[in-house]
């Protein structure tokens, strides 16, 4: 057994520690809990993938936190939580944004689309199908974000050039660096990839 002392904390009362076997941590006297102000909450309504949710959120929750931890939609990923990688990209009123850099409260009355909302009636979106066929995901962690940026692009430009695809998706980092494949996939989904370039191994 490892030589670790056990301690248990008593919830909420700040009643200090019940030290078990070893030297207690320094400075741990009994102290009353400092008064903590309540965390501001707001009731919001947000439509996610076509479903309207009424939910009370902490004002400090980010949109991605709301989606992942409270609506069970874990398809959007947190890669950096600083708006520097794009893994958390969702469509907010149709436009791609970093959901880590949006507060949940700001989505009140608005509509969000995530990767879970791409497939319709069990049918994959052409982008998803193309990602499978052209080997878009390697580790897959950036894939949801790449899909949403690509979806936004194809929603308003059905036949983008390679350059337009790269510009539209440049806010999505892929460290596996599978960029060639993602671009190939999007062009294929848009039907603009020439047959000969399609499955070059």
């Amino acid at each position: 057994m490892s030589r670790i002392s056990r301690r248990r904390f008593v919830e909420g009362t700040g009643a200090g520690l019940v030290a078990a076997t070893a030297v207690p941590l320094k400075g741990q006297e009994q102290r009353p809990a400092p008064p903590t102000p309540p965390v501001p909450h707001t009731a919001i309504q947000v439509t996610v993938n076509g479903t309207r949710h009424k939910i009370e959120v902490e004002d400090r929750w980010t949109l991605v936190e709301l989606l992942r931890d409270h609506l069970g939609l874990t398809g959007s990923k947190i890669g950096c939580d600083r708006g520097e990688c794009g893994a958390c990209t969702v469509l907010l009123d149709g436009k791609p944004v970093y959901s880590c850099s949006q507060l949940a409260v700001w989505a009140d009355g608005r509509s969000v689309q995530t990767v879970e909302g791409l497939a319709r009636d069990g049918e994959l979106d052409p982008l998803q199908q193309a990602f499978i066929e052209h080997d878009g995901p390697q580790c897959g962690f950036c894939t949801s974000g790449q899909l949403m940026s690509a979806k936004a692009l194809l929603n308003h430009n059905a036949h983008p050039t390679r350059d337009e695809v790269q510009h539209a998706m440049t806010g999505n980092i892929c460290r596996c660096s599978n960029y060639n494949r993602y671009v190939e996939s999007v062009l294929a989904a848009a039907g603009t990839l020439s047959a000969s370039a399609g499955r070059k191994a």
């Binding site: 004002d59 400090r60 944004v97 850099s101 507060l103 409260v105 539209a168 440049t170």
Partner: protein, 321 residues
């Protein structure tokens, strides 16, 4: 994140009142602010969510001038036909910011009022910008710091739209607890020797509400050229916002404002004077580039910005002429 309350103001007056609360900060798109809260650079108790205000994100033409609501997103601004047609430098500057996701959320006012991206500041070093009284870049890693106007702080102003607005002779409408005022873009930004802690003249509780552009001259041509540190998604290493008023081949007047080189958008009046009334030839453009870097004060590691600035000014001029 630390706990805070989000407040959706009813109108501008309400927004100003909310900003009077202790530890209240205004937020536009939120991209930059949330990151700063997460890093504990800012510790707000109240976020005044300006995007809740209606009507402050429009572009409208009022006779001679164009009014732009400060809360317009960078993406919408860059696509606005009036801006693209007559104030191209601003559209290009807005378009050059970061990535589509950030441009869909970030606002013009937010971009203009953005805090520096100096890594000492952003890593909570106790510098001038963080309530301290020194600048760590002077003897440290200063590859991306100022070659003009620096001292005692050597940050570079991080905004792309700011140099464009200065080049367009924009005026800023500011509102605050003491009412409204208009500040010329050129006067909005503060050199560190005037105010090392802040980058602009906004007083506590004041907000940038709208941006007003004078009517574009008929012969106006403008562009924004930005040098990045990879192919996308960095702040300007060096940038140039240039507005030329051309009559046939002659440049009647020029406005040249640099980004990435100084704590404020850096106007080049001497170079502007050189070009007035002249035909812009490759030789003149090269001379303009040379003149642009006169008086530059490089630090130990940012001397490369000098040849870079020369090249950027010369080729941007030529591309416009």
């Amino acid at each position: 994140m630390k706990s805070f309350a989000n407040v959706n103001p009813r109108d501008l007056k309400d927004a100003v009142a909310q900003l009077q609360k202790p530890h209240a900060v205004p937020v536009g798109g939120g991209s930059d602010l949330l990151g700063m809260v997460k890093e504990h650079l800012v510790e707000p108790d109240v976020l005044v969510h300006l995007r809740a205000l209606r009507g402050l994100d429009q572009v409208s033409s009022k006779g001679a001038e164009v009014a732009i609501g400060g809360l317009i997103t960078l993406d919408n601004l860059s696509r606005e036909p009036l801006i693209r047609d007559s104030y191209k430098v601003l559209a290009e500057a807005a378009e050059s910011v970061a990535t589509p996701q950030i441009r869909n959320a970030g606002t013009l006012a937010g971009n203009v009022c953005q805090r520096p991206w100096c890594w000492y500041y952003r890593n909570n070093f106790p510098c001038f910008k963080n309530g301290g009284n020194r600048c760590f870049s002077i003897t440290g890693e200063n590859q991306f710091h100022a070659i003009f106007g620096g001292g005692p702080s050597f940050i570079v102003h991080p905004s792309d739209t700011a140099p464009a607005l200065v080049a367009l002779d924009a005026k800023f409408r500011v509102t605050g607890p003491r009412g409204d005022r208009t500040v010329a873009a050129a006067d909005f930004f503060a050199l560190p020797k005037v105010n090392a802690a802040h980058e602009n003249v906004l007083a506590p509780g004041e907000m940038l509400v709208s941006i007003h552009l004078p009517k574009a001259a008929r012969g106006a041509r403008s562009t924004y050229h930005k040098v990045l540190d990879r192919e996308a998604w960095t702040h300007a290493v060096v940038s140039a916002a240039i507005v030329l008023d051309m009559e046939q081949q002659i440049c009647r007047s020029a406005r040249i404002v640099l980004g990435g080189v100084a704590p404020i958008p850096w106007r080049l009046p001497k170079v502007e004077a050189m070009l007035a009334g002249q035909r812009i030839t490759p030789e003149l453009a090269a001379k303009a580039g040379e003149a642009a870097v006169e008086g530059a004060n490089p630090l130990a590691k940012n001397g490369y910005k000098i040849p870079l600035t020369k090249a950027v000014v010369a080729r941007t001029l030529l591309s416009l002429a």
